[in-house]
């Protein structure tokens, strides 16, 4: 019956990400291409950082526990920095691509705005990162056993799924904030992204004290989400209109369609 755990964890970890992909990315082929390219860049960063970590581990003494723990911390920090570096690299690539897209389009305007690119990049980084974290855990959750015979927590699968979910969403919001910071040359935004990324990754060293890693991660996600929303052109008024327009659609009091802006 641990098919139940398999499907449950898969839906927890990838449910919102799948919904985002299906409704916002899948319809537009250009967004799909950007998404896949972003995933590829993340994979490159993972390859390089794991190469460095692998060499460090092989060159060191396997029995020295403190050294191995130190190497792990170093590996995590190096990987986070490399991921953000590749995000920057991808931003630069997309900036150059914008000129090409403008030249190719009929209206003289790029079909994809830099904000949309930021969002798709973040989602791409997030989903591939989540896949890599979660896939082998999902595969092992199919068997009859659960974690715990050596003393680990039996909630390992569920907490891993929730952690993956929060990392996917965080990556999406980080993408938006990061690109915004690079666009406006506001380097504090970029540094905040890197710092929060390091913080969330560092908090996972507190596992299996899951309260110490999951709850702060979700708080940070809410903060980043709010920030990304405001950076993307949202406002409290829009939010109110959205909620009320849904709510009182029948009365036609607040129409859901805007009158003047053209629909994209």
């Amino acid at each position: 019956m641990t098919l139940a755990v398999f499907f449950g964890c898969m839906c927890i970890a990838f449910g919102p990400a799948a919904a985002l992909f299906v409704f916002t990315v899948a319809r537009d082929p250009l967004r799909v291409i950007l998404f896949i390219a972003a995933a590829f860049f993340w994979l490159l960063s993972l390859l390089l950082s794991s190469l460095v970590w692998f060499i460090a581990v092989k060159a060191s003494d396997a029995r020295d526990q403190r050294l191995q723990k130190g190497l792990l911390i170093f590996g995590v920090v190096f990987s986070v920095l490399l991921q953000e570096l590749f995000r920057l690299a991808y931003y630069k690539l997309l900036r150059k691509a914008m000129d090409g897209l403008v030249a190719l389009s009929e209206e003289g305007q790029s079909p994809v705005s830099i904000r949309q690119m930021a969002y798709v990049t973040g989602l791409g980084f997030g989903i591939i990162s989540g896949t890599f974290s979660m896939i082998n855990i999902l595969a092992d959750s199919l068997g009859p056993g659960t974690v715990g015979i050596h003393g680990d927590s039996q909630y390992y699968f569920i907490t891993s799924a929730f952690m993956t979910l929060v990392v996917i969403l965080l990556n999406t919001f980080w993408g938006v904030v990061f690109f915004h910071g690079c666009e406006r040359q506001q380097w504090w935004d970029v540094l905040t992204v890197v710092a929060t990324h390091l913080l969330v990754s560092g908090l996972t060293f507190l596992n299996p004290l899951y309260e110490g890693s999951l709850i702060p991660a979700y708080l940070i996600m809410l903060l980043m989400g709010t920030w990304a929303y405001f950076l993307s052109g949202g406002s409290v008024r829009n939010l109110q209109r959205f909620l009320r327009c849904k709510y009182v659609a029948m009365n036609q009091e607040i129409p859901c369609r805007a009158r003047t802006e053209p629909r994209s």
Binding site: C11, G15, P16, A19, S113, P144, T146, V147, I149, E261
Partner: protein, 680 residues
Amino acid sequence: GLSSSNSVERKIYIPLNYTAPCVRLLNATHQIGCQSSINGDTGVIHVVEKEEDLQWVLKDGPNPPYMVLLEGDLFTREVMLKLKDTRRVSGMAVVISKPNPAGGYSPDLRCPNDGFGAYSPTHSPELAHCNGTVWNPFGNGLSYEDFKFPIFLLKDENETQVIKQCYLEHNIPVNGSAPKFPLCAMQLFSHMLAVTDTVTCMRRNSIQARFNLNPEMLCDALGDYNVWSVVKPINNSGTAEPEEKFILAATRLDSRSFFWDIVPAAESTVSGFVTLLAAAQTIQKLPDVQSLKKNIMFVFFQGETFDYIGSSRMVYDMEQGKFVLNLDNIDSFLELSQVGFSSNFSLWAHSDPVSRRNATINQQVMDLVSVVQNSSAGTNITVAEPPNSQALPPSSFQRFLRARNIPGVVLTDHKSSFSNRYYQSVYDTAENLLLKYPRELSPEEALNHVTDVAESLTEVATTVARTLYLLAGGTQRPSMIKADPLTATSRSHLSFLVCAQKIFFFYIWRHGASNYLRNTPLWYYVSVSSPATPTRLVQYVLANLTGTATDLTKDQCQNPTKDAGAEKDLYDYIWVQGSSSENSSEPTPFCVETTVRLSKALSPAFELKEWGSTEYSTWTESRWKEIRARIFLIASKELEIITLIVGLVILVVSLVGIYFINAKVDVLFTSAREPSTVAY
């Protein structure tokens, strides 16, 4: 499957590496042994150390099915019949008893090889089905039952401790109430491919072979090779003349137990063939043995446990003229059965009452017995006869009697029922034979130490050698013949029973094949892959003890021709590793010229394709894909359902939410100050 486990798998499962399964064997009409589901059987572990613990498994426990961890003392017929048919048991792991169970233990039948020997209900009803004597009174017959769940043996104490620790931490019921999840569980994989009986399985095999490019065989016939040798070389490519008479000295090479391939067989098998090897060596050394009137043949039959595979095949080959002898050439028969308990120095000479109704045979048997008794003079052995109306114990001689009335005796250490209380079980070890080496001996010193058991078996070997010499027409004084206790019995004991990798083996092993030997005892199950290691070892030891060294080179040895002085028809040539001389550490290999040969020991039922035969053995062993065991924790069903529901809720909420957000994206996000960008 995975070749190496990743770290998450290591967090979940602890593999059990020192286990032995119970596998499925089939004969013409039945299947015996154990079976698991194709994806393994899982159950919550429950340790049963006394009979009261069974109640939890059978009735009270709230989380069936259970995986029973049974102490070896409780592995009895009553307990197993209770557990056999209930759905609440999904498997069993048996902890091997250390020391051996006090009251004796034998999972074999009380009447072994019934129906395939010399006594049938039509022919001699007063002796068939062990009417006169129950040979194995300790037998509970468990080996021949059919179980629907897997049963494994736990060989290693440390692993058993790990399992019990997991049980104590998670599965103990508190005040009779149910233990809380997560619970400790075990999963056993031993899925057997064959079902029903040999007829069905062989039929399916032939269908596979005919219609499938990659035929998937379901079972294999049990069988291997018999080892035989003659004192005076005979032409192997022809058959012996009718005037040539042979004295056959026989014993068996195999045994079995409840669990697959854990067959120590110390008293039931090893004692017999070690003694016969010693007798063969003694005879070969006699100066006038080549000019004796009759020839002596030593035969080591393989597969006798399973309805006399080896001996029935040899008799069949003799009847068909496919062997170097015919039944007419056999003058008399001497068999060594279980002789390990001759420490009280008495040997019993059993004979067949039915054939003795013929006056000629009766006279020949009486002469045979008196020769044996005369040969034991001067040793510590006394030879006596059990009552004349008693049947022969289970022995290869019975198959020869089925075909022809031949005079013969079977020598054993028991007067009526077996004195071996652990017949064909995992407990028939060196400890059963009371084989003891002083602890302070180093391995080299142990090789030169003669134990009590070795001494008494040497006396038996001396008696047998003298008997054979006299029967073959020898005229010298037999009291001069003495078996060597060190070379033959003691070293053989050490190697065959305790540790196969002993130096004794090293210097006679075939050059370059030392990877067969491990630092563990040998197992004497006939198995399906040929040739089995014990067969090979007995072949080479016999060759070493009775053969002569030659100075042929390696090439000449492996391709013997007349020019090099090799007689391929009379002898077999083996290139052996040799012993290391004092100067060099590398052993010097050389070529041994020997009359030792192998003859096929596969039941005639498989040659004749009579899968349902009641005349010949039809035993087959099922094939399987994987056999392994592991323990882990299982979570409660509630936690699993909660996980699934939470996941589905999150999925549905996010799908609905994102759909609505996407539909009204222009409401949520207004384009700000960027002129060149398009709003979402």
